[in-house]
């Protein structure tokens, strides 16, 4: 669930409020983002992707609030990690979209599984 808005990073652009598919976020005093309906959060991480200031942090657990603090979030080293790895905005040149490799990766797994099954069969043959 969404756990943290790092207040001194939030520039109040309102983008996360607009894009949240579960309408969890709202604009608070001074226009900054606040978590208005935390229980509705679906842990999709997409608000992080749209936040240019890396001010938001989602905790992977889906069914209960974890009470993560801003300090704990920063200590994970992964605040902003989703936007960086996705190569959005200033990360475009350094983190290109490698999603197209998915088909080849699935194929590698399939071939490895066939190999493993063959090896298992030969070993079986030897012990018998």
């Amino acid at each position: 669930m969404i756990e943290v808005v790092i207040d001194d990073r939030c520039g109040g652009c309102g983008d996360c409020v607009d894009v949240c598919p579960s309408d969890v976020l709202a604009r608070g005093p001074g226009g900054k983002a606040v978590i208005a309906r935390q229980a509705d959060c679906q842990t999709c991480y997409l608000c992080e992707l749209y936040c240019p200031e890396d001010a938001l942090f989602v905790w992977p657990q889906t069914d209960s609030v974890a009470d993560v603090t801003a300090q704990q979030a920063l200590a994970t080293g992964d605040v902003g990690g989703f936007r960086r790895d996705s190569g959005w905005d200033e990360h475009a040149a350094t983190h290109t979209n490698q999603h197209w490799r998915m088909g080849a990766i699935f194929e590698r797994a399939r071939l490895m599984a066939i190999d493993a099954a063959k090896t298992a069969r030969t070993e079986d043959g030897r012990t018998k």
Binding site: S22, C44, L49, H99, W100
Partner: protein, 530 residues
């Protein structure tokens, strides 16, 4: 609610309900036909729905290999697929994806060839939003639709809903309507599925449409326990362990979930991803940036340590069932109403097995465009000035009895349990299915009689009604299919029954009715009332 005279009122040629993959393609296709289009989404078109959090690889097959691809897929559809529809979606996928080049930065491989097959979800849906806006459509975000409207002849003529900001009701008068509300995940917390509560199925049936394939609504995916990260690629390399760390003999392959479910029924299940080769580990964050987040944040070295896994129920999302398609342009049985994507039954292209991994996204892209074209043509051919509009919504909106406090979270939990439990929904028996059906019927009666509300509360009541309804159609269809076919696995009727090699329809609100299509004369005797 919608009877409120103050309610904002819009008018358009085509209304598209749901702004995921299918809804955006429908919007673009209708606009190309010259129609004025409004797209209304419960969330935000661009982030909501299961497309945005996934990375759909399409059924992308060069022309010379298509015949073989269709033949293979037809065999695996176990008697319920249709080769013509399969060929149609292959053709349209091939010509459609390159059109996105202005909005999506397609990658090139080492040889410089452009890679169209798979698109990363957030970027794909961001591109589809831009594409739809460019086509001239109006997008209403955070505008969930609650019900359909008809004219006096029963032709669908619009919809009504609530705007979440300000919690204001609204209505839209339209020449035709496309339902693209996605699948129903039955509150399982599957990644990206929170707004996919089956609303379109309920609205469609209220308008006179029927459903098909609802028994095939039990697809499950492994994920790290406690999270929602149902991205399956890495698990193709997995080794599985029980609590005592004994490796389980579970062969890799598409049918891994039932094996995992059996292990989970005995105790905790763990996974090691240590077989993933180093070069793949390095590129993983840029292939699936969301997959690595839980590990990075929780301090787990996924490639070295074991971690606990569970299965998440996807319901009809990567299941099959939905609104029955009744024509080449994705008409439903209700005049003026079209269906696309996961809201529609995908049996024509997948049969009794899941279309996840290629076919479903091609279906969403194709059915969306056909529905959009069909709706535009229907709207053009219809005179509609001054028609009186009838509001069709019942359960969850307009209680038949006194409005009273219904325990909606308890009803949602019931759906989650009955549509999620491995021992009842993966390994099925007639007896257990009927028992689930009875519990769900009781919840339905309570909701229909007493649930309602205002603003967001009204939306929750309606979503709950929709999930309970979809669960009832699923259980009733599963009861009547007394055999095992594809993902529908009856422990009390193993194996295929050749007499049941036909699609099964479902409809009915207070009383659920299912009926097998007459594929052969002996099938007509199986007409059944559940």
């Amino acid at each position: 609610m919608a009877d409120d005279f103050e309610a904002p009122h819009w008018e358009t040629d085509v209304l598209v309900i749901g702004g995921g993959l299918a809804g955006t393609w429908a919007t673009i296709a209708a606009a190309r036909e010259g129609a004025r289009v409004i797209l209304a989404d419960k969330g935000y078109c661009g982030t909501s729905g299961v497309t945005a959090t996934a990375g759909p690889g399409h059924w992308w097959v060069p022309p010379e290999h298509r015949e073989a691809a269709v033949a293979d897929r037809l065999k695996r559809s176990l008697g319920l697929g249709d080769p013509d529809w399969m060929a149609r979606i292959l053709d349209l996928t091939w010509t459609s994806l390159p059109q996105l080049s202005r909005h999506y930065a397609f990658s090139t491989d080492e040889q410089g060839r452009v890679q169209y097959r798979g698109l990363r979800g957030p970027e794909y849906m961001r591109a589809m939003r831009a594409f739809a806006l460019e086509a001239g459509a109006t997008i209403l975000d955070h505008h969930p639709v609650l019900e359909l409207l008809t004219n006096a002849d029963g032709v669908v003529t619009g919809a009504a809903g609530v705007a979440l900001r300000g919690e204001r009701p609204w209505t839209i008068r339209a020449g035709a309507v496309v339902l693209a509300t996605g699948g129903c995940a039955f509150a399982s917390r599957l990644l990206g599925s929170a707004t996919n509560t089956g609303d379109g199925l309920l609205m469609g049936v209220e308008a006179g449409a029927d459903l098909s394939g609802m028994e095939f609504s039990n697809y499950y995916t492994p994920m790290q326990a406690g999270t929602n990260m149902a991205r399956s690629m890495s698990f193709a390399f997995a080794r599985w362990f029980d609590e005592a760390d004994h490796e389980l003999d579970i062969p890799a392959g598409p049918d891994v979930s039932p094996h995992l479910a059996r292990a989970l029924l005995k105790g905790r299940l763990y996974c090691r991803l240590d077989r993933i080769p180093q070069d793949i580990r390095e590129v993983m964050p840029q292939v699936q940036p969301n997959f690595v987040r839980p590990f990075a944040r929780m301090g787990i070295d996924a490639y070295a340590e074991r971690f606990e896994v569970s299965l998440v129920s996807e319901g009809t999302v990567r299941g099959v069932g939905g609104l029955r398609i009744d024509g080449q342009l994705c008409q439903t049985a209700a005049p003026g109403l079209f269906a696309a994507g996961d809201a529609a039954s995908r049996e024509l292209v997948t049969g009794a097995i899941s279309g996840g991994g290629a076919v479903n996204s091609s279906w969403a892209l194709s059915s969306g465009q056909w529905a959009g074209q069909g709706a535009a043509a229907f709207a053009r051919g219809r005179r509609r000035a001054g028609e009186r509009l009838h509001h069709l919504g019942q359960a969850g909106l307009r209680p038949t009895g006194r409005l009273a406090g219904v325990d909606l979270p308890a009803a949602v939990q019931l759906v989650r349990e009955e549509m999620g439990a491995y021992d009842r929904n993966i390994f099925r028996t007639g007896e257990a299915l009927a028992a689930s059906g009875e519990k769900l019927d009781e919840a339905w009666r309570e909701i229909a009689a007493h649930a309602g509300g205002w603003g967001r509360g009204l939306l929750r009541a309606r979503e709950t009604a929709a999930m309970v309804a979809a669960a009832r159609w699923s259980k009733a269809s599963a009861v009547q299919r007394r055999e095992s076919r594809g993902m529908h696995r009856r422990e009390d009727a193993p194996g295929l029954d050749p007499r049941l090699a036909s699609r099964q329809r479902a409809q009915g609100l207070d009383r659920v009715v299912t009926r097998f299509e007459a594929a052969s004369p002996e099938n007509t005797s199986l007409e059944a009332v559940a």
